[in-house]
């Protein structure tokens, strides 16, 4: 039998003036009708380039320089642009990551669907419309007859992704390439979309290449998995085998770096295969070092931070008259306590108000109501910046996006030294530079990083710089707002380990915000669950995961990818897997 898609020895190169970058090397894979092949790998592994090469959407100067791609036995890699267009959409459908940008905002769903169907199948307007309604029904859009006349902005993110899927399936393609189809969506929506993709592939006998960085997505959906590392396939196999009994070292370390949803381990096993970056054993004696000494605040309060009836409203409609103004209540009467030395987690889907709370606590936003008490001091009562400065100094924040959280025009040493100079924590420039050096060592970057600029570092390394900057004020309270959600899973493991170590060594209290339940389970002592600006439940982490009391918590836990059959190998603490 002829395979649906047959790729042999594919090689894709991006010529640049500093030599050719080989994006894909010697790639060979097969796909049967109705099969879902997962392609996993970390950023830069060449996953998306496969999809682009198959559909002929490689961005210049990228080009296929070797191998062949066959669709049902016909070569499609050497076609000219005209012939390719006939295949793309008609025989190969594409689903992209961002449902917000993959639909034309100026056209109704109807127009976009009918145009696609009519263009490829030439069935006439009337028949095309009937098919379009039918398609919307199949992808699970309620009232397709009514909603078809609407514009993309009238659909929610998940619904929009369903429309994109309908569009990809409109011309009844044989192959669908889905590039991170659920990455921009919340977990609850993700589960539904994956279920939909799975059933559609089975029903219509469509082959699908599912490109993702998320092992959880693969585990739930794919029949077979192909693991990529730096442009090469390191391992291909049936999903259960890859997840349960990986053979290649890279796959092993990748799997072990996934935060386990089912139990709490003290540390993540180190993933040495990936960045080749060994965690340096820390030699700084914190008891006598600058970081540890004169932490100049009253010792031993039980409660580090207390939020009472915290409320935040954003103006959504301006008006001269108070009564006509409309507000969005992002945080709605939230109260919680964070004890000294505790890691307190906040979990919830996007838009639940987690990040707003972080910004209220740090004083980036002023609350519309309620109070924040930090180490016994009511911060909301302090009027000027100067008054608040000594308190603000003791709480620092680590941000989500490592690419925008560092000023690209400053050297690393200036970035880290800035808070030291600002709060006059060091006697002289030399002393400050010595502290910066030690801080960089402490976060595992090495003192040589000091003279470089942020763009010379990878995402994980930048996040370490962010941590060093946060520690530079000698804080005792740290807020981590999704600190690893922009990072690859192996880097995430390193950063989470580092945060755990620092938290223990410096006895920090931490507010840890994440949408990722397994990460929360590994990091936090107590957890609060948020939805629509309200705090629904606060519980000890293990209690929450075993016996959630609120219905929504139970719902969230159910949606968590289970990774059934995950390699059961017990990993010793700190032992390297690779």
């Amino acid at each position: 039998m002829v395979a649906l898609l047959d790729i042999k020895g594919l090689r894709v190169e991006f010529p640049s003036r500093r030599g050719h970058v080989v994006a894909i090397q010697d790639l060979t894979l097969e796909l049967a009708p109705g099969e879902i092949l997962g392609v996993v790998g970390e950023s830069g592994a060449g996953k998306s380039t496969i999809g682009a090469a198959v559909s002929g959407l490689l961005e210049p100067p990228g080009e296929v320089t070797g191998g062949e791609v066959r669709l049902k036995g016909e070569r499609i890699d050497n076609l000219d642009e005209h012939q390719r267009r006939a295949i793309r959409g008609r025989r190969i459908g594409m689903i992209f990551q961002d449902p917000l940008t993959s639909l034309d905002p100026l056209q109704t769903i109807e127009r976009q669907l009918i145009d696609t169907i009519d263009h490829h199948l030439a069935v006439g307007e009337k028949e095309a419309r009937a098919r379009a309604v039918n398609l919307l029904d199949q992808v699970g859009i309620p009232d397709p007859n009514v909603r078809i006349a609407q514009y993309p902005h009238q659909f929610s993110g998940g619904m929009r992704q369903r429309v994109v899927i309908a569009l990809a399936l409109a011309a009844e393609p044989e192959l669908v390439i889905a590039d991170e189809p659920t990455t921009a969506l919340d977990v609850s929506v993700q589960a539904q979309i994956l279920e939909l993709l799975k059933s559609l592939c089975r029903e219509k006998q469509v082959g699908m290449i599912l490109i993702t960085h998320d092992m959880g997505v693969i585990a739930d959906t794919a029949d077979r998995v192909c693991v990529m590392y730096r442009g090469r396939v390191v391992e291909t196999g049936v999903t259960t085998q890859i997840i349960g009994a990986p053979r290649h070292d890279y796959t092993k370390s990748l799997i072990s770096a996934i935060p386990r949803p089912d139990r709490r381990s003290r540390r993540f096993p180190l993933v040495t295969y990936i960045e080749g970056e060994e965690e340096r054993p820390e030699k700084i004696d914190l008891g006598s070092h600058w970081l540890g000494q004169s932490r100049d605040f009253g010792a031993g309060e039980d409660v580090m931070l207390k939020a009472e009836d915290l409320r935040m409203e954003f103006l959504t409609q301006r008006s001269m008259w108070r009564s006509k103004r409309k507000y969005l209540r992002a945080v709605d009467d939230v109260s919680f306590e964070i004890r000294s030395g505790e890691v307190f987690g906040l979990v919830g889907e996007s838009g639940s108000g987690k990040s707003t709370i972080a910004r209220l606590v740090t004083g980036i936003y002023r609350p519309s109501g309620g109070s924040v008490t930090f180490a016994g001091q009511d911060l909301t009562a302090l009027k000027t910046r100067a008054e608040a400065a000594p308190w603000r100094r003791q709480m620092q924040m680590i941000f989500q996006d490592p690419f925008s959280s560092l000023n690209g025009r400053m050297r690393v040493r200036d970035i880290v030294a800035e808070p030291i100079h600002f709060h006059r924590l060091a006697g002289s420039r030399e002393e400050a530079q010595k502290i910066v050096k030690d801080l960089l060592e402490l976060v595992g970057l090495g003192a040589a990083a000091a003279v470089r600029f942020p763009h010379e570092f990878s995402g994980g390394q930048r996040q370490r710089i962010s941590i060093a900057r946060a520690l530079a004020t000698r804080p005792r309270f740290l807020i981590c707002d999704e600190p690893t959600s922009a990072l690859d899973v192996s880097i995430q493991a390193q950063i989470l380990n580092l945060l755990k170590d620092l938290q223990e060594q410096l006895q920090l209290s931490v507010l840890f915000i994440s949408h990722d339940l397994p990460v929360i389970r590994q990091m936090c002592d107590r957890v609060g669950v948020m939805r629509h600006g309200k705090l629904l439940e606060v519980a000890e982490t293990e209690t929450l995961f075993q016996r959630p009391s609120h219905e929504y918590s139970r719902h969230l836990l159910d949606l968590m990818p289970k990774l059934e059959g995950l390699r059961r190998e017990e990993v010793m603490e700190g032992q390297s897997v690779a």
């Binding site: 603000r392 989500q400 925008s404 025009r409 600002f422 990083a449 390394q461």
Partner: protein, 316 residues
């Protein structure tokens, strides 16, 4: 060869010059002959203007060396030409080439000073407008809108006219240059303010600015240390194009007789003087300064266009 960030981080840190020469901007510069030609022309013009007293064959200000007998001589290669005056002389016997060199000096001084003044005013207002927002932002931007509805030359004329009526004639000649810089500078701040306001709105919400706020920094320090360096890229591009516009504006005002005093040779005054003789056969008095002005402005514009493309990662 795969170029990954982690490998780059492992290399020794580069000096600023080294990384500039390795960078894409310098690379695209060496690949476009037109831009290199413009740059060379501009450098030569700049040097000639700066060292005018040493470069120019004659001193058009030295009344003792000017002889009315030399008036209106054609260029050296014409039949009546005098080899002492390569591009001929004007109606008062001044060497046209020397006057152009001294004129370019005035044009460049006025142009650069006016652009610098516009940048300080426009970038400052743009930063405040974008960062503070609210009513102040609305006010500054409405003023900008109103100003945009007048041609900038009109605004420069207005300021110049007001200055003339307020300041006495003798004092005016001395400070005419400053008035001119002020007039051209004020007429050009709007585009800087708008661009910078836009970039500031983007940068303001980035996490590095929030990080600075968490550290406890006040708005002035954040604007100066963090936002300003990150919004200056587009400003440099606008500035090069604006320099060309400022030089043209200066030439236009001088041509109309409201710019620099008639005794100071700028390219505009030269063209005006020559204009009277254009139809009586002495074409060189106006054509050569005109060509010099066109070449100068063209070179700056070409360089500015290239800089805009080279600094735009999407067009690379």
């Amino acid at each position: 060869m795969s170029v990954s960030t982690s490998e780059q981080a492992g290399a020794a840190p580069k000096s600023r010059l080294r990384s500039f020469l390795d960078g894409d901007v310098w690379y695209s510069f060496t690949r476009s002959p037109v831009v290199m030609l413009s740059a060379i022309f501009l450098i030569v013009t700049f040097l000639a203007a700066v060292f005018a007293p040493y470069v120019a064959p004659h001193d058009p200000f030295d009344l003792a060396s000017i002889d009315l007998m030399d008036a209106s001589l054609p260029p050296a290669w014409e039949a009546d030409g005098d080899p002492r005056f390569l591009l001929g002389t004007d109606d008062q016997g001044r060497d046209v080439l020397s006057t152009i060199i001294f004129g370019a000096r005035i044009s460049l001084i006025v142009g650069i000073a006016a652009v610098a003044f516009s940048i300080v005013l426009g970038v400052g207002l743009g930063l405040i407008s974008g960062y503070v927002g609210g009513r102040l932002d609305a006010f500054i931007m409405r003023v900008a809108d109103v100003q945009l509805s007048f041609p900038s030359i009109l605004i420069a004329l207005l300021i110049d006219g007001v200055a003339r009526s307020v300041i006495s004639r003798s004092a005016h000649d001395e400070i005419a240059l400053y008035v001119l810089v002020f007039a051209i500078g004020v007429s050009g701040w709007v585009q800087y303010a708008r661009t910078v306001r836009g970039s500031t709105l983007v940068e303001r919400d980035k996490e590095y600015v929030q990080a600075a706020r968490v550290i406890g920094m006040g708005p002035t320090l954040i604007l100066w240390r963090h936002v300003l360096p990150n919004v200056m890229g587009p400003v440099l591009v606008i500035a090069t194009i604006h320099l060309a516009v400022a030089i043209i504006t200066e030439a236009t005002l001088s041509f109309l007789g409201v710019g620099v005093p008639p005794t100071t040779p700028s390219l505009g005054t030269l063209i005006r003087i020559g204009n009277d003789y254009l139809f009586s056969g002495e074409w060189w008095i106006t054509i050569f300064p005109g060509v010099a002005l066109v070449l100068l402005v063209l070179a700056i514009n070409l360089l500015g266009d290239w800089l805009r493309d080279a600094l735009n990662p999407k067009l690379r």
